[in-house]
């Protein structure tokens, strides 16, 4: 089957002048009753403009057209309604002037009978043309201009497949077109549209072919026509007299009009499996397409109507009509005496390859060459299928030289790979095998089904391969990320161990303590051991300093802070470890034990740090209580602690907002903890300030010296409070600004923050007022 042929050199073909061309033969074929005289006796008539036109966006092979009109828009005849979308697509034009009524899903010409998007045009009856761009001499146009004109006109193959014609006007890249064939065979029974067109408009057909030849520059131009159309042959010969076009008469045999069959008949070449005619230097076009190309180039007319055969015993006046694209079939038939009672069904296309219409209001499209309304007698429904008797008649008539019987078995048993190996996809679905089958097996339907299934399976396979690739890529990425994380962790642990060793060495060399605050703050952050050491040192220091009565205030504050940070840090680490432990429990059972131990250790450390801090703060409090001078720094320290905690919380919330998804959960937990801490700090601060107020009151009743002392202590207090109020206010303003500029999803949070801050400002102001009044009373007392 898949024999490849070398294209004959075109120069040789050019020089050869053939008077009577050898017509080859193709395998198989049948001779069904022609039934053509039913409709080819009368001239093509133009039906009136229908009350409604339905224009499907997909009338061709390729992508659906892109809509460019709006609802209610008034359009002129020939105006473009939809544009070609991409290379393999075709434009769509208004067949008459009118108004775009709607764009709806409407039953379209498709064997499924399903609906597709359609433009509904209500004609205004004026049939008013838009401005066209005629051209007297196509020879003056460039090839690309002709291609563009054909594309603009939305011409698509009118033989039945509907392949956009413009694409077939580009010569193949690698080779010249050796043969341009105009397919005028019209081999299917009943159909006479091309026959009538050639009889009446042979000039148009021939000139259309000349335009195509101008674009393709083929070695030879052939028109293949069956010998059952003598009038058309004569008309064509007459029209082609002065040209290099050769009219080749073919013996009548179905399916000589098949693309591959007509190529075989005229050139003896076979299109190899999986290739197209262009690959062997042949280009095939339909006669209707040639006429449409001529009208598009000569008059600038887009493809808005086509010759369609209305035939069958169910129609009183069968014949050919030049119907506007989009004419509803039921309306069109009613114009020519359609007898619904007589007609068994409506077939779009011929009796061999056409399909039964499921909706009578389906519109005429660019590929509709025939509407067949056969009576029961004309075209009886197929009798029920019986068992295959393996007579082999189907193989005898198959024009593609396949083994229909084998294909039938494989398709029926769903052994699609075997069917494919038997070249199922070379089947042209001509129906010759079903026609001769003595068991009336609907063979073609089996093949169509099998083809559809195979295509579906291939698509599914493609999709699942794609999914596998994506899945594997993702797995790889996750593994790589994990490895990177592990490497980082290891590097950090190594660095910490080194730092620890260095520190130990330093401690051994210089056992005396340096300034406690600085040491605590400069301690390396990541090493647990170092932290432990720092806490130990701080603990010792606080122990040492506890009995000491005369202690510098900043040092005490810093010490306390250091302890607090140390505690916080250990706590955070413990939390992290808990998380790690949870992860390990889920994923890595062999590490659970180690981690549990580590967690326990850390818990101890945390407890130690906490105790240290508690002790230190307790001693601080007692000191504050005993030492009036220490009061202010304590409150200040608490206030700063509170402020710090607050800012930390804010930062954390920011971090949470910007966090990576896998960190969100952890951060949320951290934020919650910090909130608690902030509240604690706030309470501590409030209590301390309340204490102080109370003490200040008692101090009024104390001695003058004490009063002076209290006054000196209070003065900075008021200042501090004032600055606190200012700070809080400026912060509040900033927040309000932020709120105004905030992104919608953050508004809620910011609003809450602003409210909190308002409360804070209020408290600060209250505190300031209280302090002011106290100092006022103090001054009064002094006076």
């Amino acid at each position: 089957m898949s024999t490849s042929f070398k294209p004959t050199p075109s120069s040789k073909l050019n020089s050869k002048i053939i008077s009577t061309r050898t017509i080859y033969d193709f395998h198989g074929g049948i001779h069904p009753k022609e039934m053509k005289t039913l409709s080819n006796q009368t001239a093509i008539v133009k039906p009136p403009i229908p009350p409604k036109l339905v224009l499907p966006l997909q009338q061709h092979i390729g992508k659906p057209s892109l809509l460019i009109v709006e609802l209610g828009q008034h359009v002129l005849k020939g105006e473009k309604l939809a544009d070609a979308d991409g290379m393999i697509s075709a434009a769509l034009h208004a067949p008459t002037s009118g108004i775009i009524e709607s764009i709806i899903d409407h039953p379209i010409a498709h064997p499924s009978g399903e609906s597709g998007p359609c433009i509904v045009l209500i004609p205004d009856g004026k049939d008013e043309w838009c401005e066209l761009e005629p051209c007297e001499h196509y020879e003056h146009l460039s090839v690309s201009k002709i291609q563009a004109k054909v594309r603009e006109a939305g011409v698509a193959g009118m033989g039945g497949a509907g392949f956009p014609t413009e694409v077939k006007l580009h010569p193949p890249h690698h080779d010249k077109v050796a043969t341009l064939i105009l397919n005028a065979a019209e081999c299917e029974p009943y159909i006479t549209a091309d026959d009538r067109l050639m009889r009446e408009r042979a000039e148009e057909v021939v000139q259309g072919m000349e335009i195509m030849a101008y674009a393709l520059q083929p070695g030879e131009c052939l028109i293949g026509i069956e010998d059952n159309k003598p009038e058309a042959i004569a008309a064509l010969r007459e029209a082609a007299k002065e040209t290099h076009i050769e009219v080749c008469v073919l013996p009548t045999k179905y399916p000589s009009g098949g693309e591959k069959q007509i190529i075989k008949l005229l050139t003896d070449k076979e299109v190899p499996n999986g290739q197209i005619p262009a690959d062997i230097g042949v280009m095939c076009q339909n006669v209707g397409t040639a006429a449409a190309v001529y009208r598009a180039v000569r008059f600038g007319e887009p493809l808005i109507s086509r010759v369609t055969t209305l035939t069958g015993e169910g129609i009183q006046q069968p014949g050919n009509v030049e119907a506007l694209i989009g004419t509803p079939i039921d309306w069109l038939l009613s114009q020519y005496g359609f007898q619904a009672k007589k007609a068994e069904r409506l077939i779009m296309g011929g009796p061999m390859m056409g399909y039964t219409l499921k909706h009578v209001d389906t519109p005429i499209v660019k590929t509709t060459n025939c509407i067949l309304a056969p009576t029961h007698k004309d075209l009886p429904p197929p009798p029920p299928a019986q068992a295959c008797i393996r007579c082999g008649l189907c193989a005898d008539v198959c024009p593609a030289v396949l083994l229909p019987q084998q294909l039938y078995w494989f398709s029926r048993a769903q052994e699609y790979d075997k069917a494919e190996h038997h070249n199922l996809f070379d089947c042209i679905e001509c129906g010759a095998c079903s026609y001769v089958c003595p068991s009336s097996i609907p063979l073609v339907q089996y093949y169509r089904h099998a083809k559809g299934e195979i295509k579906q399976q291939k698509q599914d396979q493609l999709k699942s391969d794609q999914a596998r690739e994506r899945f594997e890529a993702r797995q790889f990425r996750l593994e790589r990320e994990q490895a990177e994380k592990d490497a980082k962790r290891k590097a950090r642990a190594d660095a910490a161990a080194k730092a620890q060793a260095a520190k130990k060495a330093a401690e051994a060399a210089e056992p005396t303590d340096s300034a406690p605050g600085t040491q605590a703050s400069t301690a390396p952050e990541d090493s647990a051991e170092t932290k432990k050491a720092a806490i130990q040192a701080a603990l010792e220091r606080s122990k040492e300093k506890n009995p000491a009565t005369d202690m510098s205030k900043p040092e005490a504050v810093m010490d306390l802070d250091a302890l607090k940070t140390a505690w916080d840090k250990t706590q955070v680490k413990l939390d992290k470890m808990h998380d790690a432990l949870d992860d390990a429990k889920a994923n890595n059972p062999d590490q659970v034990e180690k981690l549990t131990r580590a967690v326990e250790k850390n818990q101890m450390r945390v407890n130690q740090a906490k105790q240290a801090w508690e002790k230190a703060s307790a001693s601080q409090t007692t000191k504050v209580e005993t030492n009036a001078e220490a009061e202010t720094p304590d409150i200040e320290a608490l206030a700063t602690a509170f402020e710090k905690a607050q800012s930390k919380l804010d930062k954390m919330q920011d971090a949470l907002d910007n966090a990576q998804p896998e960190q969100v959960e952890k951060l949320t937990r951290a934020v919650d903890k910090n909130k608690i801490r902030v509240n604690q700090a706030k309470q501590a601060w409030k209590e301390a300030s309340a204490n102080q107020t109370a003490k200040t009151k008692t101090s009024i009743e104390a001695t003058i010296i004490k009063e002076v002392a209290a006054e000196t202590a209070e003065q900075p207090d008021i200042e501090a409070l004032e600055s606190a109020v200012e700070k809080a206010q400026s912060k509040l303003e900033k927040m309000q600004d932020a709120l105004e500029n905030a992104q919608p999803e953050q508004v809620e949070k910011l609003t809450r923050a602003v409210e909190k801050n308002k409360v804070r400002v209020q408290t600060a102001e209250n505190a300031l007022k209280a302090a002011n009044s106290i100092s006022a009373t103090n001054q009064n007392g002094e006076q």
């Binding site: 997909q58 498709h110 064997p111 499924s112 399903e114 597709g116 619904a340 009672k341 007609a343 068994e344 069904r345 409506l346 039964t356 219409l357 499921k358 909706h359 009578v360 429904p381 197929p382 009798p383 029920p384 299928a385 019986q386 068992a387 029926r412 769903q414 609907p442 339907q445 089996y446 169509r448 089904h449 083809k451 559809g452 299934e453 295509k455 579906q456 399976q457 698509q459 599914d460 396979q461 999709k463 699942s464 391969d465 794609q466 999914a467 596998r468 994506r470 899945f471 890529a473 993702r474 907002d657 910007n658 966090a659 990576q660 998804p661 896998e662 969100v664 999803e745």
Partner: protein, 198 residues
């Protein structure tokens, strides 16, 4: 006697030579992994949905290669079971309903105005078919989605729907003719499909 000894020696020699050859070949041309797993894996639909009880299609393929059941894949359905049965030359068994029913192809769709941008579905998607970043709307790449519905459960606001894929006319193909199995003497008329013209 010497003939027997010669024969035995010759055979021993041959055995040693071929043994060495085979031993060498078994090391030199060792095939990593079971090649049948790849073949089985290529038949599975690759939704990675885990409905079979294995964490992905490949582990399921491995379990089948080890002699496991072939009827645990609802997304593949009967077609996959048929293909597996043919490949492994075993009896095709009907789909085990314990793992789910065969349903038409689905695709996940995120109701985008309800998405809070939590990225949970992105982490759940086995084939990275969901796009988006933290605090920003996510969306499903419909052409990549296998319809495994693993993203539905983690969504905190339940804004992911599984909808059947509308394949439209492009995916339509002729249905198979009904098997009638009648004999020549039966004269049952067929009901013609098509529009009711009267």
């Amino acid at each position: 006697m010497s003939v027997i000894v010669t024969a035995i020696l010759a055979l021993l020699g041959l055995a040693a030579v071929f043994g060495a050859l085979l031993g060498f070949a078994s090391i030199r041309f060792k095939v990593d992994g079971n090649p049948i797993v790849d073949e089985i894996d290529s038949l599975l639909p690759q939704t990675q949905c885990g409905q079979c009880g294995h964490p992905g299609c490949r582990p399921y393929a491995e379990s089948i290669a080890d002699g496991g059941e072939i009827n645990k894949c609802p997304p593949g359905g009967e077609a996959t079971i048929q293909a597996l049965a043919e490949l492994l030359d075993v009896e095709a068994t009907p789909l085990d309903s314990e793992h789910g029913e065969e349903i038409p192809k689905q695709v996940a769709i995120i109701r985008e105005d309800e998405c809070i941008g939590c990225t949970k579905c992105i982490q759940a998607c086995p084939i990275d078919a969901i796009l988006g970043s933290a605090k920003h709307m996510h969306t499903v790449i419909a052409s990549e989605c296998t319809g495994c519905d693993l993203c539905v459960e983690p969504c905190p606001v339940d804004c992911i729907d599984m909808v059947p894929v509308d394949q439209g006319l492009a995916a339509w193909h002729w249905h198979s003719p009904k098997d009638q199995n009648i004999i020549a003497t039966d004269k049952v008329g067929l009901v013609t499909e098509g529009a009711n013209l009267s």
